[in-house]
Amino acid sequence: MTRSLNRVMTWGVRPPWLQVARRIVRNPPALFGLVVVIGVVLVALLAPVLAPYPYDKQNLDAAAQPPSAAHWLGTDALGRDMFSRIIWGARSAVFVIVMVTLVGLALGVPLGAAAGYWGGWVDTLVMRLADVLFAFPGLLFVFFVAATIKPGIEAWARAMGWRDLAQSGYLSYGVVILSLGIVGWAGLARLVRAQVLTVKEREFVIAAHALGVPTGRVITRHILPNALAPIIIALSMGMGDIALSEGYLSFMGIGLQPPAPSWGNILAESAGRYWRAFPQMVWLVWIPGAILAAVVFAFNFLGDGLNEALNPEI
């Protein structure tokens, strides 16, 4: 009797991740977000296969061409295939999003957890630092940091003997990732701190201490997993912001530098001198702009969907 009753009771229980997945799929905006995000990630991973040309292959004989069978979106002033550059731009965007998120996690989670758990001067120090970061208008501060650390990173590369790298423009990935990461951890730290503050008072944390679990392990195994849902939601929302910020930085010329492909620097090129010379190629402004907008919306919809899926009672 007990046996069959137990069967019945656990029969209808699906694994939690499956329940979340179902709620996402049944929520149209979240599903749109998920599809776009997966699409962009796939394009990023398969860029070498999908793109008909290398993103940096110049062909001055075929410069500034309108769309054709060979170049679906035409070519830029240096004869680079725009369709390929936009595909490779997905890889840049995804790489920057992932790396900035990792930097944010690496800084925000330990600092926020320490501030929330120990309180006192640790809390004061971390939170005042976060306040300083919040006191500046976000993107302005990123510009400031990017402009400040760029010469330093280039000098460091030269000192290491990587002259080619220092001049190539690829170091700009490091500049973008570090500047967005340095500014971006504060929001996550605040969130983690608030979560730790509430979870650490719960009885199972005292119970863990009563079992003799060391403090570090209490934080990582007992407290943080209980704060996972809001962190996941915040990260998802934040990824859209990161994509947009990378676009801004690259558009302003302090982000990713050509030949590194970025929707932001493609926009800048297309909307600048080049567009004045070839105003008929307006799609080179529209397409990267529309893709960037879609990605930002996608991450926000997905974040909203996750919020509803992970907190179904609200």
């Binding site: 007990t2 137990n6 199972f204 005292i206 119970a207 201490h209 009563a210 079992l211 003799g212 679990v213």
Partner: protein, 330 residues
Amino acid sequence: MATLLEVKELRTEFHTQDGVVHAVNGVSFTLDEGETLGLVGESGCGKSVSMLSVMRLIPMPPGKIVSGQVLFQGRDLLRVDDEEIRSVRGNKIAMVFQDPMTSLNPVLTINTQISEALELHQGMTKEQARKRSIELLQMVGIPEAERRVDDYPHQFSGGMRQRAMIAMALSCSPQLLIADEPTTALDVTIQAQIIDIVKRLKRELGMAVVWITHDLGVIAGIADRINVMYAGFIVESAHVKEIFANPLHPYTLGLLGSIPRLDAALKSKLTPIEGLPPDLIALPKGCPFYDRCHYRTERCENENPPLELGAVRHSVACWNWQDVRKLRKH
């Protein structure tokens, strides 16, 4: 029997915005190996805080263990380093908490939670710990333990969760189990089962138990000795039969008067203790029970009575316990 735990003059305070809360005010008691001690009193009288202080689980700040000694097997737990207290917690002294709904971690499986102490203190591998977890669950009477060990707490009922908590606490065969109102959140039939489990395991494992409760009915069947606490003081301490047969402190008398008895006359009313316990921020200089006491005298207002021997192995903190014995109504 050898002394397992000796608490001397333990004082714990909480520093809050409103002032200093004197939660435990010089509590002393001893516990022998294998003995069961009942710690009784109403909410906020310092039962839990005194035992949490013994394990150094008071959140500091705002809490502070101001003074005292906690001698466990001869070592003062209040003065050993963090590493050493961790090796005692869960290993030699274990604790079961009041609410099984909140004292299990919702995101970890039962197996993970029981195994944790085994891996930490006994150096078991994951497989060994899992095997032992299943045995422990069987010991506390969870059916189909091999399968249920991988469940999450939300798949367990309240009584099963409290059994799992007990399995966790007993995983390393502690010498002392502190049970902080482990049956309060459960319904009566489950309460009886939990009490039976603890009694049986206590007999089998030979451990000492401190059972914290506000329910004298629960404690009567388990405890060897009872400490009655009030406003952070121990006001009476005696063998369980002695407490019920011959209460000397007016507060104990009040507690006994406020529980229903099967042998009471029909339609007789329960007599509640009038009033409220004193504000722990501003304790009176005299007896803390003064305001609510039917036996109070002038001396009680100005001098706090110490815990003194009133009868054989029976201590009481009351200036007028001899009058109480003469005047009490049953």
